[in-house]
């Protein structure tokens, strides 16, 4: 048995991992989630604002990380829509334009009474700007120095939502979903911390340990990886039960089933690997 395990082809591990992720997905297995304090801080930051508040939603990610971040972006969008907030979309990533389109589709298809045909009065798409943190520095001090037009080329002075907006310090909340650089850390470094802009972020698991030290003094709250997304979805459903009927509002929750099984498998494999190592050492082969 030990010899078989010692010479096990690594592709067996891939195959077992495939089954561990695929089976809960096909079965639709979900587990109950309890929102953590950190996630509740994000929920409260959006929910405690008066209806129709102004929110900047910076979606700084691409399709490569959409699997982890799309549930967060969609949950932010739905939560803002339920509160009828005015949303300013922008991105520092070129493929982020398509991610914004996904959120706008949610507004138009799921909340038509508030957002359909209300471009410019309830939401605006500022699109992409190159320049990384340089763009953030400009938009927090003078929005129109960086953005003179929206994504369609319409002058910002001709759009009701942006006509009187001098800079991002005037908005009520900044919500950022980020997959790396430029993203959450840059928004904190150049936006929320020096100018005290209330900010919440949703980020990948890789970024989460980097962002944790900023909470709560320099960052209001954070959704960390798919677990954070699932807890946020649960928090929204707890508060707005009508959303429970919408399967698209449970993207993160559905993906927590495979997470659990895959994590159990990984832990088992780590334990097994160590057992093999110690057995080999006892036999003097290691």
């Amino acid at each position: 048995m030990l010899e078989i395990l010692q010479n096990l082809d690594r592709r067996w591990i891939f195959l077992v991992m495939f089954v561990a992720v695929a089976v809960p997905l096909i079965m639709g297995t979900t587990f109950p989630e309890t929102p953590s304090d950190q996630v509740l801080a994000v929920f409260d930051a959006v929910d405690n604002l008066p209806d129709g508040s102004n929110i900047v939603m910076a979606l700084d990610y691409d399709p490569a990380s959409a699997g982890e971040l799309q549930p967060m972006a969609s949950a932010f969008t739905r939560h803002c829509a339920l509160k009828k907030h005015n949303i300013y979309f922008m991105t520092l990533w070129p493929p982020g334009i398509n991610m914004i389109e996904g959120s706008i589709n949610i507004l138009n298809e799921e909340y038509p009474e508030t957002y359909k045909g209300k471009y410019g009065t309830k939401y605006v798409n500022l699109g992409f700007r190159a320049g990384n943190e340089g763009v953030i520095k400009l938009v927090v001090e003078d929005l129109k120095k960086s953005y003179t037009t929206d994504i369609h080329g319409t002058n910002l002075d001709n759009i009701p939502l942006t006509k009187n907006l001098k800079n991002i310090q005037q908005v009520d909340l900044l919500a950022n979903v980020s997959a790396g650089y430029p993203g959450s850390q840059e928004w904190v470094l150049y936006g929320s911390s020096p100018f005290d802009i209330p900010t919440v972020v949703g980020c990948t698991g890789v970024q989460a340990p980097i962002m944790l030290p900023y909470i709560p003094d320099q960052l209001t709250g954070m959704l960390a990886a798919i677990k954070g997304a699932a807890e946020y979805e649960q928090a929204i459903i707890n508060h707005y039960p009508e959303l429970a009927k919408n399967p698209k509002a449970k993207e993160g929750l559905v993906r927590m089933g495979p997470q659990l099984v895959a994590h159990v498998l990984l832990i088992s494999l780590i334990v097994l690997g160590n057992v093999i190592y110690f057995l080999e050492r006892r036999q003097g082969t290691a």
Partner: protein, 298 residues
Amino acid sequence: MKQSTIIWTLLMVFGGLGLISVQLFRGKGEVYVREVPVEAKSSSKTSPEQTYRWSTYQEVSAKEKDDPGISFSYSRTLGLWVSAFCTLAIFSFLYGDNPLYKFTESVFVGVSAAYAMVVGFWTEIVTNLYAKLLPGMARMSFFPDMESDVQSDLLYLIPLVLSVLLLWRLAPKGNWIARWPLAFFIGATAGIRLISYLETDFIGQLQSTIMPFIVFTADGSLLWIKSLRNTVVIVGVTSCMVYFFFSVEHEGIVKYISRLGIWFLMITFGASFAYTVMGRIALLSARLDFLFNDWLGI
């Protein structure tokens, strides 16, 4: 039987089951759309009100394909199949390197670079440079909405000149000229970052670490969870800093504190790695979700 043969056989079985499911759940692997008419009105001081009409297409489920106004979308169906093919081609690397994987990887790199270039051109070169330097021509060509009294902003000649100098690198002679704009960018970026890091990461983080070991409520009772959390933060920061303090020999009490710092660092790296694993599994489950639901309809 060789292990690789068994794995290959199992993959073939999975693939066969997938194809059978496509046949069983007919209508999957196909995309249907509903036409949504859009109407917009525009007016300006110089021209009368104009009405523009066009259509957008909203994706609907295959169950609604027989409803009025629903049509089969060739382009989106093709996109779905191309997407599924690319996903499987990339996954094939897990079995071993192969030409299909290399082809898909090259397509991905090429498409990403081209997409970033096109977006950069239309959002920066056209919107931020051309429209600022030549507003009259910009109004006639791409931005009819632009005010007629906008004047050229000659300050934008500076980034234009810097960009040309930067591209000089490609010239056969005098490519040293590209170092000047590069020096400007490096200097400016370093300056911007230095101030922010000092303010947020240095001063801000110091402020966040200055906290009481023991926390009491207004009525004098102990908040032991908050006290424990503060103690862990203070002890963790201090011991990790001692570990990186190399001017003093790590002996005696310093040795034990720095060893505690190593423990904190190891726990941090472990948590960081675990978060990364969670992220990767989330990406895998998203791709499998696409294959099973959107493509195969299982």
